[in-house]
């Protein structure tokens, strides 16, 4: 952040152009997928001579990641990869991302940058509580916070009561979690008559989904904390792509490492600053897993007013609507198509008619599937049907990273 502050606009744009050109040269040289897409457009990386020229290149989306499962989009030999992350993906294959040592070093700094912007210092005790589907981010926050010298209580599967005990006894000052868990924690505290004054908690960093002003106010007032939003993707390169600073004037994008665009999701043409559209990201410094014009499905708009903090990083507002059909449950993006494909294969039904909903059960967010029972599913033995639904739910939960509850219905959906 500090380093970026010292750069003039020209210097910053030069830095971004240099990084973009290096990324494109490496992607063209090392990844057949990227090379072919250049060639299909009769282009070479050296044809990109300005940042806006990136609009000449084709888009990528999550389907490309599944199609090139597992390592088809890596730009370095496997021996250079030191960490491999898995995200659920959108089809039958998960999407895999890889990191070199340098990637991890850069990413730690970016996570540290986002935490510093939220006021975290080396004097803080940071507790991470993220669902299994966001476990990768848990590691990134741990590394980033350790990098800046904070004390870290890493992500681990604890009960709500135990989490609360750690939060109180270990004098946690910063909690990194999802909105669903923060609200669950708050409800549990009040139900058990735990006064927030017993805790040292100063701030909550929320990840995984856009959060409305009312929900933030609710948490801040009940828990006596400041709430900060971080934006990330499970595919690239991690959790702190954008973050709020002390002025809460939107989210600063780490645009020295990730080049953002906002496009009209229908026409695929860039919109003017201030207009709403789909966020598209290009990595500028990722060695192992460069992504070029990746359509996130997230809706956002660039802020047109400079932030009071003086940062030269671009600022965006992250909006609740989506450009695709994905659902966000406990901060994890769920592909409806992937769920349907899974049900089709698991249950042997040609065209499963189902309704997917986000529900809360005992404070936990989960995916509820109402599945219309048809002849191919029907069985005289209710027990067999129940067994099939339970095993299907469990296996699907493993695939997508959130708890699944399937109920059968005779009604048409």
């Amino acid at each position: 952040m500090q380093q970026m502050k010292n750069l003039t606009v020209e210097e910053k744009n030069q830095l971004k152009l240099e990084r973009l050109q290096s990324t494109l040269n490496r992607a063209y040289k090392n990844v057949p997928f990227h090379r072919n897409r250049f060639l299909e457009k009769s282009m070479l990386p050296e044809n990109i001579v300005s940042l806006s020229d990136i609009e000449e290149l084709p888009f990528m989306d999550r389907s490309h990641l599944g199609l090139h499962y597992p390592y088809g989009l890596f730009a370095v030999p496997l021996r250079d990869i030191v960490r491999i992350h898995t995200a659920p993906g959108t089809g039958t294959n998960p999407s895999i991302s890889g990191y070199t040592k340098t990637d991890l070093m850069i990413w730690q700094r970016l996570v540290a940058r986002s935490l510093e912007a939220a006021g975290v210092t080396s004097m803080d005790i940071l507790q991470i509580n993220l669902p299994p589907g966001l476990a990768n981010w848990g590691r990134d926050y741990k590394d980033g916070a350790e990098n800046m010298g904070a004390s870290v209580i890493p992500n681990s599967p604890l009960s709500l009561a135990k989490t609360l005990m750690v939060l109180r006894d270990y004098k946690t000052t910063t909690l990194v979690t999802t909105l669903a868990f923060a609200e669950q924690l708050m409800e549990h505290m009040f139900e058990n008559e735990r006064n927030p004054n017993e805790f040292n908690l100063k701030r909550i960093v929320l990840v995984g989904e856009p959060v409305g002003a009312e929900q933030i106010k609710n948490l801040e007032e009940h828990l006596h904390v400041d709430v900060w939003l971080n934006y990330g993707l499970s595919e690239i390169p991690g959790p702190a792509i954008a973050f709020e600073c002390l002025h809460h004037c939107g989210m600063h994008i780490n645009d020295d490492h990730i080049l953002p665009e906002i496009i009209d999701p229908v026409t695929r043409i860039s919109v003017t600053p201030g207009q709403t559209g789909e966020l598209v990201l290009t990595t500028l410094s990722a060695r192992a897993f460069p992504l070029i014009r990746f359509r996130t499905g997230d809706m956002a708009r660039f802020s047109t007013n400079p932030c009071e903090c003086g940062s030269s990083l671009m600022t965006m507002e992250w909006l609740p609507e989506r450009a695709d059909t994905m659902m966000i449950i406990s901060g994890i993006k769920i592909s409806r198509e992937q769920v349907t494909i899974y049900l089709k294969d698991a249950l042997g039904v040609n065209d499963p008619k189902c309704k997917l909903e986000k529900i809360r059960h005992g404070g936990t967010e989960m995916l509820s599937i109402s599945l219309v029972i048809d002849d191919s599913l029907f069985s005289d033995e209710i027990k067999n049907l129940e067994k099939l639904m339970v095993s299907t739910s469990e296996r699907l939960a493993e695939l997508i990273g959130v708890t699944v509850k399937i109920t059968l219905t005779e009604k048409k959906i």
Partner: protein, 247 residues
């Protein structure tokens, strides 16, 4: 200070530099590393006006230096220590240094030249001892000091060094790099092209990696030093010894 965008240089049909962008900010020490034939020296020749036909943009202190002659570029504040030193062998050490101040003499800054000579002699005491000796009789390390001293006589804002370690014994290389580091600490902005990637990155703020005329990597020196591609290609890391079958 220096901003290069989309530079393309060719020798006949051979494209030596293919759309390279690079920047050097005030007070930085930047290293460009790459194998033989990667376009490093060509890049420097274009910056210093020694290569006249190129495409793209080179801005120095926000001035476009395209079409400027080498002396005009020296007057702008860029001074080069060329590959292989290129000192004037038949001239004395003192005359070599004075040749570096050619543009100062033309401006009538004789007193300043005298002061600078004294400063160079203090920086490189061996040159004072050898002041009247013919430059061609100096050792390799002394010649490199002379080449650096000669470049500094022009009071450059940007010192460009092309392969300063070439042909020198390891001990002398160490000394030359400590001199470069000292210059940087004194506030001289430096662009260093070097095949000895480890030595160059150890003293640099940032680095660029050129490969067959294209920029394929750039980052802080710390990032490049741990990068496996850089280690394998330029730092002599032998992967064959522990490669376990992964590609």
């Amino acid at each position: 200070m220096l901003r290069i965008k989309n530079l393309k240089c060719s020798y006949g049909s051979i494209m030596a530099v293919q759309g390279v962008s690079l920047s050097v900010r005030d007070g930085e020490l930047i290293s460009i590393i790459g194998a033989n034939g990667s376009g490093k020296s060509t890049l420097l020749l274009a910056i210093c006006g020694l290569l006249t036909t190129w495409e793209g943009e080179i801005l120095f202190k926000n001035n476009d230096i395209k079409g400027m002659s080498p002396p005009a570029i020296v007057r702008q504040g860029i001074s080069m220590v060329p590959e292989g030193r290129q000192i004037f062998s038949p001239l004395s050490v003192m005359d070599n240094l004075k040749m570096g101040a050619y543009t100062m003499y033309r401006k009538g800054l004789k007193k300043q030249v005298e002061d600078d000579l004294e400063m160079i002699m203090e920086m490189f005491p061996i040159l004072r001892e050898r002041a009247d000796q013919l430059a061609g009789t100096l050792s390799g390390g002394e010649q490199q000091m002379l080449a650096i001293g000669r470049a500094l006589m022009a009071r450059p804002s940007l010192l460009v060094l092309d392969e300063p370690s070439m042909g020198l014994a390891p001990k002398i290389v160490e000394m030359i790099f400590s001199i470069i580091q000292k210059l940087r600490q004194e506030g001289v902005t430096i662009l260093l092209v070097e095949q000895n990637a480890r030595a160059a990155l150890k003293i640099a703020d940032r680095g660029y990696v050129l490969e067959t005329g294209k920029m394929v990597l750039q980052g802080s020196a710390e990032e490049l030093l741990v990068d496996d591609d850089v280690k394998r290609a330029y730092l002599g890391k032998d992967y064959g010894n522990f490669c376990d079958g992964r590609n």
